[in-house]
């Protein structure tokens, strides 16, 4: 609070009116919802009758619910593949773009395109590309003597979905890393070059340590996105009965709440998802204290 305008007299009214929407958002949108979901997770409720106290039975039931365990494990597997995939590939693209080359603007635009466009629209074309007998990807594989693979069948669907999600997220990561990379003073590299450090040494000793704040930030963003991943997965793996070949946690919450009207179960699952995010953030902030270099 080093600087700030003091509201004068009736301006206090202005101040709080300007904050009212945000406070409503905290009450109804985020913090209030978190508490309400927590409360609901201890009840059985189908939205029509009255809620019935259920104690921790919804949580106990989750531990025995194979469909839910599958969904939770899928979310973890997905995140474990997706997060490093996005961080490494977007850092790589950013490092290459940060070399003094021509056409940086064009490359940046192209890599960013999937981030702008809707997952629904691009998933429609990915569905065609992944087609088993008719897709262009299998055609390309076969022309070099491989495949065909059933990209969206149970065996490979996870990999295929991770690929599309990474494809859709490289652009945003690239921008974060470019911002971090351009902030590194050029003279560091010049000094290192004078001392005889080669490109690899410069990358490992200068770039990597100084870009750790961006890696930290991008890992958190990617992980939060991974835990909530839904659009591509829904579009690529849903089956006619309304289920999915790669059900993830969000899919399971959605189905329980709005198809089966089991609000208690769905709330318990949402709370578990929130706990997962919480635990992950705790680990990340521990990691930040030990490994992230701030100038």
């Amino acid at each position: 609070m080093e600087y700030g305008l003091k509201p004068l007299g009736r301006e206090r009214l202005w101040l709080w009116s300007m904050l009212t929407p945000t406070i409503l958002g905290l009450v109804f949108g985020t913090i209030g919802s978190l508490l309400a979901t927590l409360v609901l997770s201890f009840f059985d409720w189908d939205l029509i009758g009255s809620p019935v106290w259920a104690g921790v039975s919804n949580y106990v039931a989750l531990a025995q619910n194979h469909a839910y365990i599958e969904a939770f494990v899928n979310t973890l597997t997905f995140s474990a593949l997706y997060v490093p995939g996005v961080v490494i590939s977007s850092l790589l693209v950013a490092v290459l773009l940060n070399r003094k080359i021509h056409g940086v603007g064009i490359f940046r635009t192209v890599y960013f395109l999937p981030t702008v466009t809707s997952a629904v629209a691009t998933a429609l074309v990915w569905n065609m590309i992944y087609g088993r007998d008719t897709g262009i990807l299998n055609f390309m594989l076969q022309s070099v003597g491989l495949g065909p693979l059933c990209w969206l069948c149970t065996d490979h669907a996870m990999t295929s979905v991770v690929i599309v999600n990474i494809w859709g997220a490289i652009g945003e990561g690239m921008i974060i890393f470019l911002a971090g990379l351009t902030a590194i003073p050029r003279d560091y590299y010049e000094a290192a070059a004078l001392d005889g450090a080669n490109d690899v040494q410069q990358f490992l000793r200068i770039t990597l340590p100084l870009v750790t704040p961006s890696i930290f930030f991008q890992t958190i963003i990617s992980a939060i996105n991974a835990f909530q991943a839904y659009d591509y997965i829904y579009m690529l793996t849903r089956r006619s009965g309304g289920d999915s070949s790669v059900p993830v946690a969000v899919f399971s919450i959605y189905r329980n709440a709005f198809h089966f009207f089991r609000m208690g179960d769905a709330s318990a699952q949402a709370i578990q998802l929130a706990l997962l995010v919480g635990v992950f953030m705790a680990i990340m902030f521990w990691w930040e204290r030990h490994y992230v270099v701030y100038e």
Binding site: M1, Y3, G4, L5, P7, W14, L15, M18, L19, P21, T22, G25, F28, G29, T30, I31, S33, L34, T37, V93, L96, L97, I101, F107, R108, T109, V110, Y111, F112, L113, V116, T117, S118, V120, A121, T122, L124, V125, M128, I136, I175, A179, G180, F217, I224, F227, Q228, D231, Y234, M235, I253, Y254, F258, A266, A270, I271, L273, A274, V277, Y294
Partner: protein, 282 residues
């Protein structure tokens, strides 16, 4: 190897790697456009260049969707997204101004609380919000998609606050000397001076709302005249699973991304700077 030769070699490798990556990024879009310009009988053909070339799918799009729903879907998506943009700009800017400029007790606590909500997955709000909207009798209308845009948000508030902090304080002090109220300072100084950041937030809010799938699935009726483009396209795809004109679907997919492509090409700088700004730790 000489130093200049080494640099040339690394440059070539850089271009090759970036070029291959760029091709992977572009191919799905090229394929989408290519399929949308083919005769339906050619929908699975392997050539990128359509042969024969036709625009018929774009005409059929208005006929083939059940209830001739395409224009309705586009209208609904535009309406909801534009209202969401207005809501986000107004409410986030007001809060951001207060957090950046005004001094009052509890400010830092409230701001920290708001930032902490970034970690709460939106799915947690889904069920309580559904219940609130059910008691307000607005399930099946577009209100549940519009109202939440008017209660601020951590991302937009943070983004604008970061920008507001860069505006020189002398301006405020001078205006205060002249008797400007808090709201004057906000409305006449901060908002006009923050066009790039406001534009960035507008683009993000539009994009998120336009591309949203989960919330329209939950709240809107299955009636294709009242739902959004994303739900309409997902529904149309399901209809086609048993065999049908995917060429028309691709025409719809392409038209659905055109507004965002236009915004992106016009305001690319704001968009990219907005993301970079949100990644800056202060």
């Amino acid at each position: 190897m000489k130093k200049s030769q080494y640099k040339a070699l690394v440059d070539i490798l850089t271009y090759v790697a970036l070029g291959l990556g760029a091709l992977t990024m572009l191919l799905p879009f090229l394929w989408m456009i290519s399929v949308s310009l083919r005769e339906p009988a050619q929908q699975y053909a392997r050539d990128l260049i359509p042969n024969p070339f036709t625009l018929q799918n774009y005409v059929d799009l208005f006929e083939d969707l059940p209830n001739q729903a395409f224009p309705y879907l586009v209208f609904n998506s535009f309406k909801i997204s534009l209202l969401a943009v207005i809501g986000q700009i107004l409410t986030c800017a007001m809060a951001a101004f207060v957090f950046a400029i005004v001094k009052f007790r509890g400010r830092d606590f409230l701001f920290a609380l708001l930032l902490a909500t970034l970690m709460i997955p939106p799915q947690v709000s889904l069920i309580p919000n559904f219940i609130i909207f059910k008691y307000l009798h607005v399930i099946g209308t577009q209100w549940p998609l519009i109202l939440p845009a008017f209660w601020g948000g951590a991302f937009g508030t943070f983004l604008l606050r970061q920008y507001f902090l860069t505006i020189p304080r002398d301006l405020v002090d001078a205006a205060r000397m002249d008797g400007a109220s808090l709201f004057d300072v906000f409305w006449r100084i901060y908002l006009p001076l923050s066009k790039p950041a406001v534009a960035a937030l507008a683009i993000f809010a539009f994009k998120d709302s336009w591309n949203d799938l989960l919330h329209p699935l939950v709240y809107l009726p299955t009636d294709l005249h009242q739902t959004t483009l994303t739900v309409g396209l997902a529904f149309f795809q399901q209809q086609l699973q048993l065999g049908g004109k995917f060429t028309v679907l691709m025409a719809g997919a392409f038209l659905s991304i055109v507004p965002l492509l236009i915004i992106f090409f016009v305001a690319q700088r704001q968009f990219i700077e907005g993301i970079a700004l949100s990644g800056v730790k202060r």
